[in-house]
């Protein structure tokens, strides 16, 4: 089977100002091309390609991960493989290391970018979105007028309506000494989209009780989001995986599962308690 690709141009930007100027110049006909693992499948989804792409994968400042004692800053064109390698050995970011290091398959991880994962509106099963939500990530958007920083939650709400010319440039995560874990259920052990994803980040007080909790759920609904009722129920208690799973069962109607050819909506909801238990167990093991 050969799937016809419409003709289109790709400008391979070598610097951020070049990319922003090119996107600005192309206006509504332009689009960002990061790893391409979603865009190149447009013909299979019977979607048109953009007329003019601006490729950002060869821009040095967008392909760097900067780790300081206060923050980690991730360029939007950092690949999943590069991110997992950069964060290896940082327990606080186990959730993101696993999200980036276990998604899809090795060749996809070498191409797909963190920015693409954040910005692809239709990709409900993106692993790094819930992982970054539970880490309270912020994102930076660039345009010829300057840059703007906002919480990832806000970006997810507006990403489908961004004006032409704006580019997700960086993801910023504060280091807060949390323990984190990422639990996902693909239909096959590896290489598949996850049915559901639970990302968990917790900090405890001196007595071992939960002081802060973030739980984010991916792939169950069209856009990943935090499970705030479950987060609130964790505060002040020790991390008890069975209790968390029971709470997840009680609160499961907080979500409306999405139907797809892979699995029905109810199944995505039904696996959440097990994934919450696994994530909690992993957090305990890493604490």
């Amino acid at each position: 089977m050969q799937t016809a690709m419409a003709k289109g141009s790709i400008f391979v930007a070598r610097s951020l100002p070049d990319a922003l100027a090119a996107l600005d110049d192309r206006g509504p006909t332009g689009a960002v091309f990061a790893g391409g693992t979603w865009i190149m499948r447009a013909p299979i989804r019977h979607e048109p390609l953009a007329a003019n792409y601006v490729a950002i994968g060869k821009i040095p400042e967008l392909t760097a991960v900067t780790i300081t004692s206060e923050t980690i800053e991730i360029g939007a064109a950092v690949t999943h493989a590069a991110l997992a390698a950069a964060l290896d050995g940082l327990p606080e970011f186990a959730v993101l290391t696993m999200a980036a290091g276990r998604a899809a398959n090795p060749a996809i991880r070498s191409a797909a970018t963190i920015g693409g994962n954040m910005a692809t509106t239709q990709f409900a099963a993106a692993d790094c979105v819930p992982a970054l939500l539970c880490l309270d990530a912020e994102v930076e958007l660039g345009s010829p007028e300057g840059c703007e920083r906002m919480p990832l939650v806000r970006f997810l709400a507006i990403r489908s309506t961004l004006a032409p010319g704006r580019l997700l440039t960086r993801i910023i995560v504060q280091r807060k000494g949390r323990n984190s874990a990422h639990a996902r259920l693909p239909l096959r052990k590896a290489g598949d989209y996850p049915v559901a994803i639970v990302s968990l980040a917790i900090s405890c007080d001196a007595a071992g009780r939960v002081a802060t909790a973030r739980v984010a759920i991916g792939s169950v609904e069209p856009i990943a989001r935090r499970w705030e009722r479950l987060e609130a129920a964790l505060i002040g208690h020790p991390i008890e995986p069975e209790r968390l799973a029971q709470l997840a069962r009680e609160f499961a109607d907080d979500f409306t599962g999405r139907d797809s050819v892979e699995v029905p909506a109810w199944y995505r909801l039904s696996v959440l308690p097990s994934l919450v238990r696994r994530a909690a167990t992993a957090v305990l093991a890493g604490a």
Binding site: T3, V12, M40, G57, A104, I108, A190
Partner: protein, 151 residues
């Protein structure tokens, strides 16, 4: 004037549009038909090539992004008609079945055994998670790769 590529050590200037998937350029213009366009979604690995030494899905890689990169397909892995150790081990183990997945398998195995010479069974299995064999011949393929490690 098309983009300039390096493919299996030779220069090429294909005329295809820059958004064209590399797999189509390799097959349709350069007649390197070892690379297979099977799923075109990055799931099956039958179109795997090495780009600057990294296993890359040529179905998801537009021509424009590999300009001046070193591309190596299954046809370009051996030199002077002598099978590479990976190819020889697969032949000895009689691991080839229908052949659809095999060029991609060879490319992925070549990379993992070059970068991890003491690769374990788990390393090899992990490296092949993006290469699907519909004949389900995985065990013989993994065993063949392990014979290369043991030599």
């Amino acid at each position: 004037m098309g983009l300039s590529l390096s493919i299996n050590g030779d220069r090429a200037t294909p005329s295809a549009d820059p958004i064209t998937p590399l797999v189509d350029v390799l097959r349709e213009e350069l007649h390197l038909t070892g690379v297979k366009p099977v799923c075109r979604e990055g799931f099956c690995g039958a179109c795997m090539v090495l780009v600057d030494g990294t296993p890359t899905l040529s179905c998801l890689t537009p021509l424009a992004l590999v300009e001046n990169c070193e591309i190596r397909t299954a046809e370009g892995l051996s030199t002077n008609g002598v099978l590479t150790p990976v190819q020889a081990a697969l032949e000895t183990a009689d691991a080839v079945q229908c052949g659809m997945c095999f060029p991609g398998m060879v490319v992925s195995l070549t990379h993992v055994l070059a970068t991890t010479p003491s690769a374990t069974r788990d390393d090899i299995r992990a490296a092949l998670t993006g290469n699907i064999c519909r004949c389900t011949g995985y065990e013989r393929i993994v065993e063949a790769a392990l014979t290369v490690v043991r030599k």
